[in-house]
Amino acid sequence: MTTSDFLHSKTAAVLTVVLVLLCIWYAGAVALNTPFQRDQDVRDKVERSTGDFVTATLNQKRPVLPAPHQVAVEIWQTTVEKKVTSKRSLVYHAGITLSSTMLGFLIGTVLGIVLAAAIIHVESLERSLMPWIITSQTIPILAIAPMVIVVLNAIGVSGLIPKAMISTYLSFFPVTVGVVKGLRSPDPMQLDLMRTYSASSFQTFWKLRWPSSIPFLFTSMKIAIAASLVGAIVGELPTGAVAGLGARLLAGSYYGQTVQIWSALLSAAFLAAMLVTIVGFADKAVRRRMGMVQ
């Protein structure tokens, strides 16, 4: 790859955008932390040069906006330097969030596929249920999250299951809609061919509809897993900061630990990106095995 090719590539463009965003972040950190630093300096009677002042704004203990390197250091300290089992380890909290995300995502995906298969085969179900499935997503379902958690807690169900239920609710919808579209995607010619083979509706489903819905399924799963993570994080809020990334966010906001909030936020972002990427890889692998891409 020549230099000119590189400059016109997507990677260069993305890197530039990310760099610009980092610069904006630093500038914002300086701007937002300046008032507090000035107050502090006046109180301590410290005179600083401009360069020294900027460095000070970027290294406050509880900044309004922590600088990227502060967050990076915090993440390093709470992941690599802490034992995984420690309550202060981000890996521990991310693991808890990840487990309910995955459980919710799995149940949601299976539920979504089953619903889609039912909707395809029973017409009255499609006409009566589908509008409600769509309406159910226009309501801000996360609002129910605290109630689900607290009520289930009251009857003795706590821990993983309630959070996973919220994730399930958020993730089944994209899967249902996507798979219904996918199961409908074979064209009439192919369906007619199955009929000439006198294939049963189960055979048509298994040998034609299901394989053709795979690309739709994976696209939906990428959306579903991201939604599932959001559900898990919000599900951790009402229990009052016990464990998980959501709890780290809440604890950070209680005690004004901005660096902690940002590190939890960034690890959640990292987790989301990783999960989506893994689903993306699975998509490619499955399609290659099915001979859909060379």
Binding site: T16, T138, M147, L245, A272, A273
Partner: protein
């Protein structure tokens, strides 16, 4: 004889028979409503079996099943919370017959003229929703489910009508202030940025993947930070909504702006159209379906953002605040009333967007 009868009708008849046996042998609590409901369901089963594929049979099934719903609900008053197996059999029978009526309605609607078919298409989900409510009501009141676990729809309705001023104040705080302001700002800024970025292919190449990635992130987590920066009032919630709605709008508008084909753009060039004219008369029009897609996604995101942001701190008003405090006090009916308001607001918002979209993109294949 039996072969041609749908499974739902067979199930409905079997459950009805069970209820009748329970009533005759005296194991079921007896009331006039029970008998009335049973007889009406019998008529429905009869209609479904004897007139299997004409409109008259469908009408008989639909009318008698829905008439049966009234005594079905009235019977609960005879002994609330202590319904027996006979009643549950009756409920199952009613549910299966209601399902049959929807199936019949679906079949009949195919033979109807377009206008009537549209009405029936609207009616079918409504019937489904109605029966969902009826079954919910019957189970919660009939089995005496504790209020804390799941209140009956009638209890939620009573709470809703009794606390309208509070709900209205919450609605104003969360929806009219935070959601609307944040939504308009977020979508507006996203749209403006997209128009600007669109002029630079390099920026566009870089921003689209980043924007797509950010759209998948749990941005909701930014809420505590915004509450710290902008205070407890609605401004911080609006800020969360701005950030949540910005990226979907940016990415979709950018995608939409490149939706016009090169043929169309060439045509604009042969007309010697300026950049502004091409943008306004061709590219923005072609981008409308994408823009509305973003607007629709954002309508839900905005409401979620505003409500969840309130979990991190608010003045003592707002939907999210009410939900989290009433949950803490175990006033679950109030929470459900608030959720009903949120659901109504969310669906109305979404529905309004769909109507505007239909009016503006009438030319798009999906609307013709």
């Amino acid at each position: 004889m039996i072969a041609g009868i749908p499974l739902t009708v067979l199930g409905g008849a079997a459950a009805l028979l069970f209820a009748a046996i329970a009533a005759v042998t005296g194991t079921a609590a007896f009331s006039p409503a029970f008998v009335a409901c049973g007889l009406l369901l019998l008529v429905a089963v009869g209609g479904a079996v004897l007139r299997r594929d004409d409109a008259l049979g469908a009408a008989v099934v639909i009318l008698s099943v829905h008439a049966a719903a009234v005594p079905l609900m009235l019977h609960i008053d005879s002994a609330p919370g202590e319904m027996d197996s006979g009643y549950w059999a009756l409920l199952v029978s009613a549910w299966l017959m209601a399902w049959t009526s929807v199936t019949r309605l679906t079949q009949t609607s195919k033979k109807l003229p377009t206008g009537a078919r549209r009405a029936v298409d609207l009616l079918i989900p409504l019937i489904f929703g109605l029966w969902l409510m009826l079954i919910w009501e019957a189970i919660t009141r009939g089995a005496g489910v504790p209020q804390v676990l799941l209140p009956a729809p009638s209890a939620i309705w009573a709470k809703l009508t009794a606390s309208l001023p509070i709900l209205w104040a919450d609605f104003v705080q969360t929806f009219l202030k935070a959601v609307i302001v944040g939504y308009v700002l977020g979508c507006g800024i996203g749209f403006g940025t997209a128009i600007l970025v669109d002029r630079s292919p390099f920026l566009k190449r870089g921003l689209v993947p980043v924007g797509n990635m950010v759209s998948a992130l749990p941005i909701i987590g930014i809420a505590p930070i915004m509450v710290m920066w902008f205070g407890f009032d609605w401004q911080s919630k609006a800020a969360v909504v701005v950030i949540m709605t910005f990226f979907p709008m940016l990415v979709n508008t950018l995608e939409g702006l490149s939706a016009s084909s090169s043929m169309q753009r060439d045509l604009m060039r042969t007309y010697a159209a300026s950049y502004g004219q091409t943008l306004w008369k061709l590219r923005l029009v072609e981008a409308l379906p994408f823009i509305f897609n973003a607007l629709k996604i954002n309508s839900t995101l905005a409401l979620i953002g505003a409500i969840v942001a309130e979990f991190f701190g608010t003045p003592i008003v707002g939907m999210g605040f009410r939900i989290s405090t009433e949950v803490g006090r175990m006033n679950v009916d109030m929470v459900w009333a608030e959720i009903a308001v949120a659901a109504l607001a969310g669906s109305a918002f979404y529905g309004a967007l769909v109507l505007i979209e239909r009016a503006l993109t009438f030319w798009h294949p999906s609307n013709r």
